[in-house]
Symmetry: C2
Subunit: 332 residues, 2 copies
């Protein structure tokens, strides 16, 4: 079995109200009395919990008469860091937060079978067997990125599943662009900056022939990775390497989750064309000469368009078109 | 959690050689000495094990000087009952045999994620939450049927998964026909006798966009069911009700597994047209007036053909054709 260190598995209903209150009032003093009254807990219980938060890395000032003030957060994926954002609705209905795991997607698939609800998040500070498409390795060093899987129970048919990859890519690229990094989407599942991989998406489904049981969307974003193994140096990058500064992960995650909910709701409402329009604005594949290597084929030509099912349309040199559902794309 | 009573979980390599020897020599005496020499175990160990088999329901005579003779088997899905058949190659590489389980498919999906090998079988004498397509209930009373799930790791794309349902239906219908019961396949996943359900197939996949991780094929065959709940009386039947006699389940299972391996190997070799030909010979859907109710549609017309992906082609009354991937079919 993989090494697996769970920090917390919690339903949103059971969130820690004290930590939440401090997070929502970050930088301001809240009195022990106020906390005690609002949250109906004794002041001793509060004091004990505050000490617990400090051990997690929260900097909390306590000043007699003034109360407690959260000065600094440790930038860890402690569930309340997500729950503090009231604009996030269904994502994080339940959160599994690991210190170490083999792969968040593998874990999420098991949790989904065991009944984890729609919107469950699986986060880990480190993955020992992080993976990309077709079982390829995804470097997931400790506390340097966002290694996340989302469990969804959409009312889509299996053929529609690629829509979720496209939608996730849009949310991911937009969140990264808000950091001032001009990334682009490479079909089908990568986010690139100057042709180097900054983030990747791995969508996996469990389905009957005409019904999706559940979807697990895995997202890996290289945030503060300072160096890559030699064989990845030329093809991978991180926000840290691009901006030459440390990037806080939690705000980036929250932006991504809000974007994800927005585009997912478009998808649910049947407005996939809106998502597709965004995707086309953000992509670096269409209009380019590409070579695609798939399971039993190889195609070269111009990437002309993607259709409503997420398939890529290739205009070959002989003028004929081909519709590609998936494969490895190299931009020429 | 579901009630779950495991009888045995065993790899084929660890099969019980003594039981296997007795099974292969059913009706004949084998001396303790012979067993002891062949299998390199002491005669005391053999004697102890024989007593264990008796407790499982095996009738074993022991006669001084002659040795042991297996007279009668309990017709249970004890793994060696499958392993005794040397014509079965990869099915049963590992066997999970339950007394009681929620659903063999649900269990198989978890076992597959945990790494269960290609060909793993999950059998249960009883399912408390047996299920058919779209989460519908499948009655699975104790020791009265074959409630089986097969874990496969095929090199197929997700679009090809319906081929496995068709292939399984062929193997299932053929095994039942060898019992002298003239059943037929109703698209997409039922085996009928005189319009009543005798068996059903539920194929579930775990997949990336372009690669199947694994397939779980669930098969339920109503063998000795003596009565159905009132609401099913008009739509379900069993071999017992048809033939008015008790049917041994183990030989039926072995016939099915051998057929499954045969057609699966055709599929792997790319000879799906062979399977399709058999399917067409055994089906009761093509050429009939049908109504199909799917997720977001309803179609009426004549079922003309199925294509290489297992989709049904319907000729509507206005003369146009429609290609249906799945849905509920009522024969008109």
């Amino acid at each position: 079995m993989e090494e697996e260190i769970l920090i917390k598995a919690q339903d949103k209903e059971n969130k820690n109200e004290i930590l939440l209150y401090l997070l929502k009032n970050k930088g301001n003093y809240v009195s022990g009395e106020e906390l005690s009254e609002k949250l109906k807990v004794t002041r001793t219980a509060i004091w004990k919990q505050i000490n617990g938060f400090k051990k997690l890395g929260y900097e909390i000032d306590s000043v007699p008469r003034l109360g407690y003030c959260l000065k600094n957060s440790p930038d860890l994926f402690i569930p309340e860091e997500i729950w503090k954002d009231d604009n996030i609705k269904f994502l994080g209905s339940k959160i599994y937060y690991f210190d170490t795991i083999g792969s968040t997607n593998e874990k999420a698939k098991i949790l989904a079978l065991e009944g984890a609800p729609h919107g469950t998040l699986v986060l880990s500070e480190k993955q020992t067997k992080g993976k990309g498409r077709l079982g390829r390795k995804w470097e997931s060093p400790d506390k340097q990125g966002i290694w996340l899987s989302i469990i969804l129970r959409p009312s889509l048919t299996p053929e529609e599943a690629p829509k979720i990859t496209l939608m996730t890519a849009v949310a991911c690229a937009k969140a990264i662009r808000e950091q001032g990094v001009n990334c682009a989407i490479k079909w089908p599942n990568d986010i690139l900056y100057k042709e180097k991989k900054l983030a990747g998406i791995l969508t996996e489904i469990s389905a009957e022939m005409d019904k999706i049981n559940h979807v697990v969307v895995g997202i890996g974003i290289n945030v503060n990775t300072k160096s890559f193994p030699e064989e990845l140096e030329d093809i991978a990058t991180s926000l840290y390497l691009i901006k030459n500064e440390y990037i806080e992960r939690v705000p980036l995650l929250l932006t991504f989750l809000k974007g994800f909910e927005l585009y997912y709701s478009e998808l649910e409402k049947g407005n996939f064309s809106e998502v597709l329009k965004e995707w086309k604005n953000l992509n670096c594949t269409l209009g380019r000469k590409v070579r695609i290597i798939g399971k039993n084929f190889e195609v070269e030509g111009e990437a002309c368009d993607i259709d409503e099912f997420g398939a890529l349309l290739i205009k070959k040199d002989d003028g004929t078109f081909e519709r590609i559902l998936s494969g490895d794309v190299s931009l020429r």
